[in-house]
């Protein structure tokens, strides 16, 4: 289907049409001195005229010369927060005369419309779909949210120094997995449609056919992002190179820098590890099983008979990197990394996985 053109001022219509259809619109907005995903009601809440400057262990907001609404890349949050919430109730147990009565939680799952999903993030959602929906077991919490969500993607027109989606084949161009995809131009958006729900919504918007100049401008804006991507991760044979180097000295070396703080796994849009807590009242008559985000960096994450299996930071860093980049292929048929660069930016000591991989493979080649 050929793309359409939506005037800048009409983006608000898009928001409203989504809200008419019962969606809570989640989009980028400035909070805590970063671009975070949160519910928005008007396009004025978007980070108009702001950009982000990222490097290993550092993130800063900065004013742009123009009034772009999407002139930045990805921030500390990912959509995982909404599809795979940091806290979710799995079941409840209540003590009755006839023993424990176990119930699944009754919840009306929210209907989310995600505005501003980048190509790497579409890929990340695709990966979590494989994890949570396409294995032998379906995760009902994820499924309920995922099935009801509407995705408005945005093509990146610039890149951060930490981005490496081109290496991971996930971006910067949005190919699939969206209902609508926007490319921002100074006067408006080129809109592509990726689903029936997308076309249905598009039909309610005041769009027109784009001019040839607009099409070219959009093309070159997207190209700009491609050119700005500097970071590379060579993925040839990466699975074997990592899994056959489990005793490489570099793990030890990285283990001395890594704080085992879990930040990389928390910001990663695909990491899915979790733990279950028992939340009980004092007499333990009413119990809720609560699932929370967890991480392979935690000492007590992998215990056997009360002792940690991965009893030093190096082994936990190795678990993370090898899972992400190697064993993920065995488990889900793709890499677990989409090249968004979040783990590089948000590591408080700036550990860069692309560098670690290169160091480990350097000795191999």
């Amino acid at each position: 289907m050929p793309p359409w053109f939506l005037e800048k001022a009409c983006l608000q219509d898009l928001l409203e049409r989504l809200r008419d259809r019962g969606y809570a619109v989640i989009g980028p907005t400035i909070s805590q001195e970063a671009i975070c995903y949160d519910e928005i009601h008007t396009i004025d809440e978007l980070p108009r005229g702001w950009t982000d400057v990222q490097q290993a262990g550092r993130y800063r907001l900065q004013r742009r010369a123009d009034e772009s609404l999407f002139g930045y890349v990805v921030g500390p949050h990912s959509w995982k927060r909404y599809l795979f919430p940091p806290q979710a109730t799995l079941m409840t147990a209540d003590r009755t005369d006839g023993g424990w009565s176990m119930q699944a939680p009754v919840e009306v799952p929210p209907r989310y419309a995600f505005l501003g999903v980048r190509a790497c993030e579409l890929a990340a959602i695709r990966i979590q779909d494989k994890v949570f929906l396409e294995g032998p077991y379906v995760d009902l919490v994820y499924q309920a949210r995922r099935e009801r969500c509407f995705v408005v993607a945005v093509n990146c027109t610039q890149a951060a120094s930490t981005c490496f989606c081109t290496s991971m084949n996930t971006g910067p161009r949005c190919q699939a997995g969206f209902d609508l995809a926007l490319t921002e131009l100074p006067t408006g958006f080129l809109v592509e449609c990726g689903s029936d729900a997308g076309s249905e919504l598009l039909a309610s918007l005041p769009v027109r056919e784009p001019s040839a100049e607009e099409l070219t401008a959009a093309e070159s804006a997207r190209e700009q992002a491609v050119h700005q991507i500097q970071r590379l991760m060579d993925t040839t044979n990466i699975r074997e190179d990592l899994l056959t180097n489990l005793n490489h000295p570099r793990w030890q070396e990285a283990g001395e820098r890594c704080l085992s703080c879990t930040n990389c796994t928390m910001v990663c849009p695909t990491c899915f590890c979790s733990s279950v807590n028992e939340v009980a009242d004092l007499g333990a008559d009413h119990v809720r099983r609560e699932r929370v985000w967890d991480s392979c960096f935690n000492l007590d994450f992998s215990t056997m008979n009360g002792t940690p299996v991965r009893n030093n930071v190096a082994s936990r860093y190795r678990q993370w990197l090898t899972h992400k980049l190697a064993s993920w292929h065995d488990q889900f048929g793709s890499s677990g990394c989409v090249g968004c660069g979040r783990c590089i930016t948000w590591c408080p000591v700036g550990i860069d996985l692309t560098e670690e991989v290169a160091a480990i493979r350097g000795d191999v080649r």
């Binding site: 262990g57 967890d294 000591v349």
Partner: protein, 261 residues
């Protein structure tokens, strides 16, 4: 336990905040009081029965010769001794004296230092007697206190997580204050339990739950120094309420000796 377990609370050098946490369990207090026999808790009751006790909560650090003797007595009467709070588990803020000239401190505060009997150091309870369980925090978390008490009453192991503050920050959606604003934060080195409140209030964590397991403070301080944090500020961050916990202490001393060379 067949009879209700006898619970006692003892205080050493401290601010009373951790034992107050028990009274702060407003919704559960009466139920807790129903499940245990509170036989010694000077802050809350005039009942003062002698030991032995089944569960003893100890708040505060050892700072006087009398207290050093008293803790032996408390231990001898305790089946299960649990320390509560940073003072009891790491010496507390008063352990700052451990690096200072004690006489100078005495003179700074008291007109007649000869009236004061105090040790040159403030030390953790575990430096004096065996401790069965340590509950961290300055102050402790009331939820964790309840969990430990309930677990003890039920005869199971308490579930108190050992991860760092960063994980809780991310769960609650806080943006990393070090990465996004350059504010030095002890979060990556600090055990969770507080619910990651400081970064949620736009400030760095000051480490009040003490070191997380297997922390490597050196990596963080090295990075913060590179980013321009003054060494002095890092030393002060490390030398707070858990300044004498081995991991924090080691790093602050290393930073200082590095400064001096």
């Amino acid at each position: 336990m067949t009879a209700k377990p006898r619970l006692a609370v003892f205080k050493f050098a401290s601010c009373d905040g951790c034992q107050l946490s028990l009274l702060d369990c407003e919704d559960e207090l009466l139920a807790v009081a129903g499940a245990v026999e509170i036989v010694h808790f000077a802050e809350a009751t005039s009942r003062m029965e002698p030991g032995p006790y089944d569960i003893v909560l100890v708040e505060g650090s050892i700072t006087t010769p009398d207290d050093a003797a008293r803790i032996q007595d408390v231990r001898a009467n305790a089946r299960f001794l649990m320390t509560i709070g940073a003072c009891a588990t790491a010496g507390g803020i008063q352990s700052l004296r451990n690096w200072a000239d004690h006489q100078e401190f005495l003179q700074a505060v008291y007109a007649r230092p000869e009236y004061i009997s105090s040790l040159a150091t403030s030390t953790a309870i575990a430096d004096h007697v065996p401790v069965d369980f340590e509950l961290r925090g300055c102050p402790i978390s009331r939820q964790q206190l309840l969990e430990v008490l309930v677990a003890l009453i039920d005869g199971r192991k308490p579930q108190t997580p050992g991860h760092g503050v960063c994980l809780d920050c991310k769960r609650r959606g806080s943006v990393c204050i070090t990465v996004a604003r350059g504010v030095p934060c002890m979060g990556p080195l600090t055990q969770s339990g507080c619910g990651a409140i400081c970064p949620a209030f736009d400030r760095g964590c000051y480490g009040c739950f003490g070191p997380a397991p297997q922390v490597q403070p050196r990596s963080l301080t090295g990075h913060l120094l590179e980013q321009g944090a003054p060494p002095r500020q890092l030393v002060q961050l490390l030398r707070n309420f858990n300044g004498f916990a081995p991991e924090f202490r080691g790093e602050s001393e290393r930073l200082i000796s590095q400064q001096e060379t």
